[in-house]
């Protein structure tokens, strides 16, 4: 056995994410990745069976990393408002500081690789985020609600703000900069809409 070169693997991983994010999946290949990452194609094949295996492995790792960031400091039995606010802060931090990771996720979400990645994310989120909503319903904090409606009301407004920030303007062309004050103001409306 020879030692795994973790720096080399990390380099391959980061370059793959960068290439897929910037150039899309269609142009992506092991040979091009090897050139860009400064390693031989054989090195990549040591760790990954083929292109599909590489994309699947990296997308699952990236998905789990996103879940880890989202769930930091969050517990399923937290009071609804407190737990959701932690989710908002975590999600905003991840989306604003990991634009490459977030764009990579968007690319994959609309591809044939989506299944494995979404399953990994869903399995991880179900452990805490699912019970959190169920607890809030059980404790009488919010009404019975489907996950789709919950997501659209509870989390989508945050991503609208993030999108305005990334575009640097709103839909009317007005300049926009994300701030915790604006996030909190939006969050308060969300809480007003959801809480009994």
């Amino acid at each position: 056995m020879r030692p795994r070169d973790e720096n080399k693997i990390q380099g391959i991983r980061e370059k793959a994410i960068e290439m897929i994010t910037n150039e899309g999946l269609e142009n992506f290949g092991i040979n091009r990745l090897a050139k860009a990452a400064g390693v031989s194609p054989a090195t990549i094949y040591i760790y990954y069976k083929d292109k599909d295996d590489l994309i699947n492995q990296i997308s699952v790792e990236e998905g789990l990393r996103m879940c880890g960031a989202t769930l930091e400091g969050f517990e399923a039995d937290m009071p609804f408002e407190k737990g959701l606010w932690i989710q908002w802060k975590n999600r905003a931090k991840y989306a604003l500081n990991n634009q490459v990771g977030a764009s990579f996720y968007d690319q994959l979400r609309n591809s044939t690789y989506r299944e494995q990645m979404l399953k990994a994310i869903s399995d991880e989120m179900k452990k805490k985020a699912g019970p959190f909503v169920k607890n809030a319903i059980k404790n009488g904090e919010i009404n019975e609600i489907s996950m789709e409606v919950f997501w659209s009301v509870a989390l989508a407004p945050l991503y609208s703000l993030v999108k305005f920030h990334q575009d640097e303007h709103t839909f009317s062309g007005k300049k926009f900069v994300f701030s915790e004050k604006i996030m909190k103001e939006t969050f308060n409306y969300v809480i007003k809409a959801l809480k009994k």
């Binding site: 056995m1 020879r2 030692p3 795994r4 290949g29 092991i30 040979n31 390693v39 031989s40 194609p41 054989a42 090195t43 094949y45 040591i46 760790y47 069976k49 083929d50 292109k51």
Partner: protein, 77 residues
């Protein structure tokens, strides 16, 4: 995560490019009792053959593939 990479992964460049070529090598590689796993990345320009075997060497693999009338050479790391 495992801190070592196995020496028993063999990576070769081939010309096994078409679906019919794959079919031709499949029977031999599937039935070889010293080959644990194998796959060919036909999307790659080098049609990379990846074999997991505890006992076979590059020379053995090259011989097996050459006998099937395909080219095969070690792809070095």
């Amino acid at each position: 995560m495992c801190n070592h990479i196995p020496e028993h992964i063999l990576i070769c460049k081939t010309n096994i490019a078409a679906e019919s070529d794959l079919f031709a090598v499949k029977t031999v590689l599937d039935n070889h009792h010293l080959i644990e796993q194998w796959n060919i990345d036909q999307e790659d320009v080098d049609c990379v053959l990846r074999i997991i075997s505890w006992h076979l060497s590059y020379a053995d693999i090259i011989l097996i593939i050459s006998r099937l009338n395909y080219t095969c050479e070690e792809l070095t790391t």
